[in-house]
């Protein structure tokens, strides 16, 4: 029987493979002719329930790449983005990342995957030694854990622990003023939800020691029906609620909590509320939800930030998301690093990036810094305020103090055994 399935045995497949082989041999010549462009690979999620992560990451990248190319490119080389969908599966993310580097000739990687995909791409970066920036994963251990540390990987996403320090401080102040002693939490049951909530509670209790958690609920990610979660919280009669729910889940939860009149019975602190995706979608947004900023064009209240937000909206007909600014920052850092190193080579970029500070519309003081010690972003605008159902959505934001954040973060690392 003819073995038509084994590669290389049937004539047709041999010819096809020889053709492919010929093309692979020819690529160096073709590549030399195109040495003017530099390819940057970007694995991300463009389909499924979290597709908005990928589309807004892509937008954030392209709006900056277009500016750089217009100004001459990276050390004279025009950027060509190769963006590919991993459908949210970590083994696909690993495969796509490898393919981008090995087959498509990408010299740099912008990893716009969510957390588990980011860990998978991190292993690829470790194996291949390719320059990689994680732009969306907020899991602190990705850079805090020394076992994960590799010299060629960076992160420009915000960190859960930073959000929790600022949130805990803000909430503690309000708790003291309004006498909120009994708290409940309701967060999605996965690493981000558990870690962020745990850290928030830790810092809340640090700043307001007589706070007590009377109930906790852990719905599954993308769970459609929150009835048992809402009633469990209501039963415990807390005075305040913390939630790390985000996106569509947060919207569903607000809708369902509304019909139980939950918002009239307790103060709600939802760290992911102040994001345009949620703010513009929720139809009956209750007033007075406390939230951390994700991306708000009025915070920082600078002209640069507002201009960036408006330009993004004009180009893509939707507001930027948290993912948008994190990805834009990665590109901005690469641009500055290549200027400093006068090269677009991955290793030189990595050396230039460590400790680099750049001007940024998203910086707390107008700048952000890529910390050299663990190669993650610090100095970005981070603050909390209360939301209203219409523009500007978060009229007043109380900023976090980066000196305090850094000090507490250092302590946190010690307790986790990361130093």
């Amino acid at each position: 029987m003819t073995e038509t399935s084994r590669p290389g045995v049937s004539r047709r497949s041999t010819l096809a493979l020889m053709g492919a082989g010929a093309m692979t041999f020819a690529t160096p010549w073709v590549a030399r002719a195109q040495a003017k462009t530099i390819k940057i690979g970007m694995p991300t999620i463009l389909s499924g329930r979290v597709a908005q992560l990928g589309t807004s990451s892509r937008n954030g990248v392209m709006i900056e790449v277009d500016k750089i190319n217009a100004a001459g490119g990276l050390a004279g080389r025009q950027i060509e983005m190769v963006i590919r969908d991993s459908k949210g599966a970590p083994q696909e993310a690993a495969r796509v990342a490898r393919e981008l580097v090995n087959t498509d000739g990408c010299e740099l990687l912008l990893d716009a995957e969510a957390s588990s995909g980011a860990f998978a791409v991190h292993e690829v970066a470790r194996d291949l030694g390719v320059f990689c920036i994680h732009t969306n994963s907020e899991t602190s251990s990705l850079t805090a854990d020394p076992k994960q540390h590799i010299p060629n990987a960076f992160r420009t996403a915000r960190q859960g622990v930073h959000d929790s320090i600022v949130g805990g401080g803000y909430a503690a102040a309000i708790a003291k003023v309004k006498g909120l002693k009994k708290w409940a939490t309701c967060s999605p049951d996965y690493a981000y939800g558990r870690d962020t909530t745990g850290e928030f509670v830790y810092y809340l209790k640090q700043f307001a020691p007589d706070v007590e958690i009377v109930s906790d609920a852990w719905p599954k990610l993308f769970q459609p029906d929150y009835t048992e979660v809402v009633t469990k919280i209501l039963q415990a009669k807390p005075q305040a609620l913390y939630s790390a729910l985000w996106g569509g889940d947060l919207t569903s939860y607000i809708d369902q909590a509304n019909i139980y009149a939950l918002f009239s019975q307790m103060e709600v602190f939802a760290v992911n509320m102040a994001d345009y995706t949620a703010l513009t979608v929720v139809k009956n947004l209750p007033k007075g939800i406390h939230s951390g900023n994700r991306y708000i064009k009025t915070y920082p209240a600078t002209a640069e930030n507002a201009a960036w937000g408006d330009a993004y909206k004009a180009k893509y007909s939707e507001y930027p998301t948290n993912w948008s600014w994190e990805n834009a920052t990665a590109v901005m850092l690469i641009a500055e690093a290549s200027r400093k190193a006068n090269s677009a080579d991955g290793k030189k970029l990595a050396d230039a990036m460590r400790g680099l500070t750049i001007k940024s519309p998203f910086g707390a003081d107008g700048t952000v810094t890529m910390r050299a010690e663990d190669q993650t972003l610090i100095g970005y605008a981070i603050g909390w305020g209360t939301t209203i159902p219409n523009e500007p959505y978060v009229p007043e934001v109380k900023s976090g103090d980066w000196k305090q954040i850094l000090a507490l973060e250092a302590e946190w690392k010690k307790t986790k055994g990361y130093t």
């Binding site: 590669p7 290389g8 045995v9 692979t24 590919r84 991993s86 970590p90 690993a94 470790r126 194996d127």
Partner: protein
């Protein structure tokens, strides 16, 4: 009925059950299988020297992982008629078992490999003992339920499995017998070895008397038990054997991504196994292998061109399910037979 008549009736029953070419496996045929396997391995080993494409190496490694998984599923679906919706649980079990053993203990890779297979045997035996007595669609439901339960446990048991983040930090790959699996070429050769030997073993199982027992069970389980076959035992045996090969596929995947993720134990893996079998065809032994290559090529090409992978995959599935109504290998085998019959008629 006399003893003799009963025996004659039994022989006729065995002959008339729809099994093709029931000659006992002669040494010559087994020899040919081994020869084909060696030739295939030699070709695979030579590939990287003919074409210096890293993507091809990655592609073949993934084909090895999914090919073993899909072919093992076919042992259940095509040869025994047991439609399992939860076979992916063993793929995930293999990945996590191997990953955990390597990360937590310092044993050499072959020891971890054997250890993972032992764990899989145990789990498959327990689950199989509960499941295989159910028939048809209920077997499918309960295997799916078990897979969901295992997936849920992997997600909840964060201290052991890392929860939704999976096993992080990479899988240590200490050198053994001069083989360094962190070197892509060594991993490639190891995967090809596992693939070829796995397929060879599964082929022997399929073509052995046990394999024909399975076909008999597929065609008419009550008739099979009437002639004295312990159907439950046979089904349990093949369930465990199939689990072992699926587990090996999972081990290869965990080495490829240097980790293990809950997605490896999710129903989507079982679903992909079923598509691959449908794409390639369940009536030939190499059908699932063809299906694996097809699906992976389709996946890689389409994700390179568009982000609307769903529409393309959906149309391809419809083409095979409604248009061809059979897998590619089935179609080709039938087409060849038609031509052969046509030639015979004309002759």
């Amino acid at each position: 009925m006399t003893e003799l008549q009963a025996e004659r009736a039994r022989e006729r029953t065995i002959e008339s059950s729809a099994v093709p070419r029931i000659e006992t496996r002669s040494k010559r045929l087994r020899y040919i299988d081994v020869l084909i396997a060696v030739a295939a391995f030699a070709l695979l080993a030579a590939l990287p020297f003919l074409f210096s494409s890293k993507a091809l190496i990655d592609f073949v490694i993934r084909c090895a992982a999914f090919g073993l998984f899909a072919t093992s599923l076919n042992l259940l679906v095509g040869y025994t008629g047991m439609i399992s919706f939860g076979h992916g649980m063993f793929f995930g079990l293999g990945a996590y078992g191997f990953g955990l053993i390597m990360q937590r203990t310092g044993v050499p890779i072959p020891v971890a490999f054997i250890g993972t297979l032992l764990i899989t045997t145990l789990v498959a035996a327990v689950i199989g003992a509960i499941c295989v007595r159910l028939k048809e669609i209920y077997f499918a439901f309960v295997t799916l339920a078990f897979q969901m339960l295992i997936h849920s446990t992997i997600l909840s048991w964060t201290s052991l499995t890392g929860g939704d983040q999976g096993l992080r930090g990479g899988i240590p790959r200490p050198v053994f017998l001069g083989i360094d699996l962190s070197n892509q070429m060594h991993l490639y050769i190891a995967s090809c070895t596992l693939l070829v030997s796995g397929l060879l073993l599964m082929r022997q199982i399929a073509q052995s008397p046990f394999g024909y027992t399975l076909r008999m069970i597929r065609d008419n389980a009550s008739r099979a038990s009437f002639i004295g076959i312990d159907v439950w035992r046979a089904k349990l045996t093949i369930f465990v054997l199939a689990a072992l090969f699926a587990s090996t596929g999972g081990i290869i995947m965990s080495l490829f991504v240097s980790g293990a993720y809950p997605e490896f134990a999710y129903w989507t893996i079982s679903g992909e196994g079923i598509f691959i079998n449908m794409l390639g065809g369940v009536t030939t032994f190499l059908g699932p292998m063809v299906g694996t290559v097809l699906l992976l090529i389709l996946n890689d090409t389409v994700t390179r061109l568009t982000e609307y992978y769903g529409i393309v995959l959906g149309i391809v599935i419809l083409f095979f399910a409604i248009g061809l109504r059979k897998g590619l290998m089935d179609f080709m085998v039938e087409w060849c037979e038609q031509r052969r019959d046509g030639a015979k008629e004309r002759a």
